[in-house]
Symmetry: C3
Subunit: 276 residues, 3 copies
């Protein structure tokens, strides 16, 4: 290797990611970045997405979980989908084996907490890490952004507030085995119209004993898929098809089309898998 | 504190922000970033927004003013909403107490200039800071981006062109007191449908003698709001409500809905405030 | 000059640009950035655009060519519009005089290869530069992003895979001279509704002997333009007009309107130029 990624000559900039429902047409996100850089001008700020549907905590929770795990250890993830901003809902700092997460206590970290049962959970209370004047409508800028920036300067987590053990979590639906069928649901519809389900390859193998493509049958709405494909172009055009995707989840798709339109499926739609 | 934000070990990268009406589907913005990094590869480039409605100078002016103030001193703000590109309109470099602004001379800096009466205003004329071949249709890439990059390398402002004292400014409407009512207007509608007005908390207090929520009444279109809330979730769902927002401006909103659709308001809509 | 852009004190961060059809509402792009920063935390990642119409290789090819040339030498450009992901289509590393390009072998680099006949073309085969588990549906994250990150650490290109000489290229249509008329087509419609053609200023001069605005006449659909303008505001409002744009290409536009709506033109529409 020509150069080590951990070269001695300089400390890598700390990474702060942002995921919000603020959209791109306003300057909410730009303002958060200004606040971060005012505290730590060396921070490397990365957008996960700002197009979470407005106030849709479940959508944000899924995409945060999906994207955050691809970042290097030490990354600070800030997530703000926050219809209850300014109310009694608490701001959280959650530290897992690899990352820090800053987010409102409204379920946005449900998937993170489900997969990280030993995470350290703190209520963000230390006002010295907030902007001087924290308003009641924009905690992304006034509270989460500055706290993340101070954290990126290696402030210890115990300085940010006390540990708590009762964060708000929505129920993460697990697929169920019903009469030999594994029954799950659509978690997310991506920009190509692909339907991502909560049925993992691991679960398929455990519940049904195989993930051999030729034997797996999938049913959604009134449509049936008789085989798992290996990649998108592997399926006949404009028909419903299925595969295990890059996050190891069962995904329904339509080569040269949109699966969501083809079967008129929405988030939460029931998905059944059985073995022939 | 574990590490100083102004650590000795390295100079923080200069910050250049971009605000345009170029959208995200083209590569205008990407080209500007390439030009900047070709001159100063250490620049930290931050997007404010690129979704200003096409050619809408007033919308750009408002959002530039709103976002720019959250950045650390020394930040260079580039704003390009420029229907008159290539014509006689001048390119400007405006230096305030904290920032540099580069923008076409078409009113885009009206709010900045209104709040910074002692700003130094220069016409950008020094061709050594432009791309070799400045076209007539894309000054964002050929003129403003390279000038900003050179400025980030600490070139002195007087090298960029002569001072001028007659920049183009549109009239910034100030709320007026009419028969005991403070009359203002909607400045901006954000992605959540919230209606941000030009009536500040300071002005409310001065003109009406109070900002006590229970006494303040707001009228827009044919709808009345009888009280100021403290945060969004504080209001009953799906009704028109009002609060002082994170920029200290009166804002109309609808908890679990969109205020703009509820009252069919547009930018410029009249807003009246009185005290009961 | 106050400070050299190549200051001795620190090595500039390597630049990696991203152009995809992944959109902004998902976290595909965020995941790619996480992978890159996990390998080279010093990389400066720049978005060209992620709003290429889904699976539209030609649109991506044009915008990649348009934007990439504005970056400094050494920039690594990653482009992913990849309907055939997981199939037999090869992943490529193309090295030109100034840049590296990583992209699927599906025509996305057609314009780059057309203008860089001596480019070094390699198939990306060296699995040590990919993520440990390369899936079949997301090579942007599992293959192109990590390969780009390793390349930014100065790994030599010959370590990435063998040279090939038969990359997939779609035919780049060149304008033709027909009965004294130069006949080209619309390459791209930008966010302002401007119609960018494949007719360059150089070609106009060579084929017709002049680019003097008063003598050049343009025909598209049933509309005629009698003169070339110098900039947008130079044309009467709400009429079809033409100019040579910032990429030296003939462009049809409508001052204070949209040319695409005015003449109902689409990508590929025929454009004729003659001299009066």
């Amino acid at each position: 290797m020509a150069r080590s990624p951990d070269s001695l000559e300089s400390v890598p900039p700390p990474i702060i990611t942002l995921l919000t429902d603020f959209g791109a047409a306003d300057v909410f996100v730009g303002s958060m970045k200004g606040v971060i850089l005012g505290i730590n001008p060396h921070a490397q700020i990365i957008d996960l997405t700002h197009d979470i549907p407005a106030h849709n905590i479940r959508a944000g929770a899924y995409l945060l979980h999906s994207a955050s795990s691809h970042f290097p250890p030490g990354t600070i993830h800030v997530a703000v989908v926050d219809p209850g901003v300014g109310s009694e809902r608490r701001p959280l700092l959650v530290t897992t084996r690899s990352y820090h997460f800053l987010a409102p206590d409204n379920g946005l970290l449900s998937y993170i907490l489900a997969s990280e049962p030993k995470a350290e959970i703190r209520e963000l209370t230390a006002k010295q890490y907030f902007l001087g004047t924290v308003g009641s409508t924009f905690h992304g800028r006034d509270l989460f952004a500055p706290a993340a920036a101070w954290l990126s300067l290696d402030e210890p987590t115990d300085a940010f507030g006390p540990k708590i053990d009762n964060p708000v979590r929505f129920e993460v639906h697990q697929p169920q085995l019903e009469e030999g069928r594994l029954v799950g649901e659509v978690l997310h519809i991506d920009r190509f119209g692909n339907l991502i389900t909560n049925i993992s390859q691991t679960l398929l193998r455990e519940a049904l004993g195989t993930v051999e493509g030729a034997k797996v049958q999938v049913r959604i709405k009134n449509a049936d898929v008789q085989v798992l494909r290996h990649f998108y172009a592997d399926a006949p055009p404009r028909t419903l098809a299925a595969l295990i995707n890059s996050d190891n989840l069962l995904e329904l798709f339509c080569n040269q089309g949109r699966a969501d339109e083809l079967v008129k499926a929405e988030i939460g739609a029931r998905v059944e898998v059985r073995v022939s």
